[in-house]
Symmetry: C2
Subunit: 245 residues, 2 copies
């Protein structure tokens, strides 16, 4: 029996090369520092819904209908919004039962591009094993979609794509060289991912922004078995309820 | 004193992100399997000039003015042309003193996109150390431009970019994550590059085309100290004369 294919899309700028037949494929959207990590934290802490939007203005519009709003540009919280993009802000007492509109530099764009896929899953180190298990169960062709940084390739998303591809490699065929590059980068970095990522441009940016402690949160492994799903312009848990480990 | 910056452009599809200020930068065009390797072999064997063109029709036009013509599409020689894209065809008795028009799937496009750069150098494992020395001497911001495969990232060009970036790392600053990904891929593959590249999609394609022996030629290290330069739509050696090791 033919194995399903796993591909790695290294930046949104290359999306058109991977778009064909997407309605029959799973997509995992990856924005490790920090959008997709933050989404996983928010659902783990009981958020009811997250609505990704393209601009702070759209977030502001949803805010008037009862949403909380999170907005970040170039790593900073947009003034006047409840949240930025730090996962540490999305605590249980602030998000449980809430609907949250959010906009980020790269993650929102990757989500919106993926809308036509069979399923769009939110991936982070926090739910990586649950996600791998889901991909194995679904057994569909899969695109690991790295949000990157302003259309350029980044290390942390590529590394995560490699870690996820590695976990499903026995059941999936590698489609193209990018997924093999990602897997080998993960193999190279695996002995100490936190140390390895010190060289990433975005981690350097974190130091300037004084949010280094976010990195530890973003690299925690398997703290969640929830897999947020993007559908009809919003992100929810399939059963609309967090499951706790 | 500020170090010059080295960036890696992983596919022509991302060129616009790297185009700003290109007139002050060096570009190394990389199409290891096989266009830039073949160019290095042709000059090593005494070719007078190589003219990259976009289509077999343009190659045919130049052929009528006295050029020999090489054309490859999807790895095969175009019927009726003197050469395909195998470096083993470009022997001294066939190319010495000749002008050759050539068109390839990915290499020509990368060359043409780079035309505005300060210098456009042709890179391959055959001249890698000479090229590294040239970049160190020039001391300009440098883009390592991987030709890729139909706008997707490929392993062999990324690996070469990493090998070259590694050779100049003490004098250059890494610009962005892509160059670090390339360097670490090289670090990972270094113990046995030929074995490592067996997984590359294009090497798999070689097996289908029965041109596996080209791979050995393409991975030979430092058989040439000539650095072909692309300028005014053609490639020449700067002194118009091959230097032999």
């Amino acid at each position: 029996m033919k194995k399903p294919v796993v591909e790695t899309l290294l930046t949104p700028a290359l999306f058109e090369l991977y778009n064909e037949g997407i309605e029959k494929k799973n997509v995992v959207v990856i924005d490790i520092l920090r959008a997709t990590t933050t989404i996983c934290v928010a659902f783990e802490n009981g958020a009811a819904e997250m609505a990704p939007v393209a601009t702070p203005e759209e977030a502001e519009t949803l805010r008037k209908t009862g949403y909380l709003a999170a907005a970040e540009r170039n790593g900073n919280t947009v003034p006047g919004f409840e949240f930025g993009n730090s996962p540490q802000e999305f605590t249980q007492n602030r998000v449980a039962g809430k609907k949250i509109a959010f906009t980020t530099t790269n993650g929102t764009r990757a989500l919106q591009l993926s809308h036509a896929a069979a399923n769009v899953y939110i991936g982070s180190f926090l739910n990586i094993d649950a996600l791998a298990q889901k991909l194995l169960t679904d057994n569909l062709d899969t695109i690991l979609f790295c949000a990157g940084w302003k259309d350029k390739v980044n290390i942390e998303d590529t590394l995560f794509a490699g870690a996820l591809a590695d976990r499903i490699k026995h059941q999936f065929e590698a489609g193209g060289d990018a997924v093999m590059i990602a897997r080998d980068l993960y193999e190279f970095a695996k002995p100490n991912i936190a140390d390895y990522l010190q060289k990433a441009s975005h981690v350097q940016r974190f130091k300037t922004l004084h949010v280094e402690s976010d990195l530890d949160v973003c690299l925690k492994l398997n703290t969640s078995i929830n897999i947020p799903v993007y559908k009809n312009n919003c992100i929810k848990l399939p059963n609309n309820e967090s499951v706790h480990i």
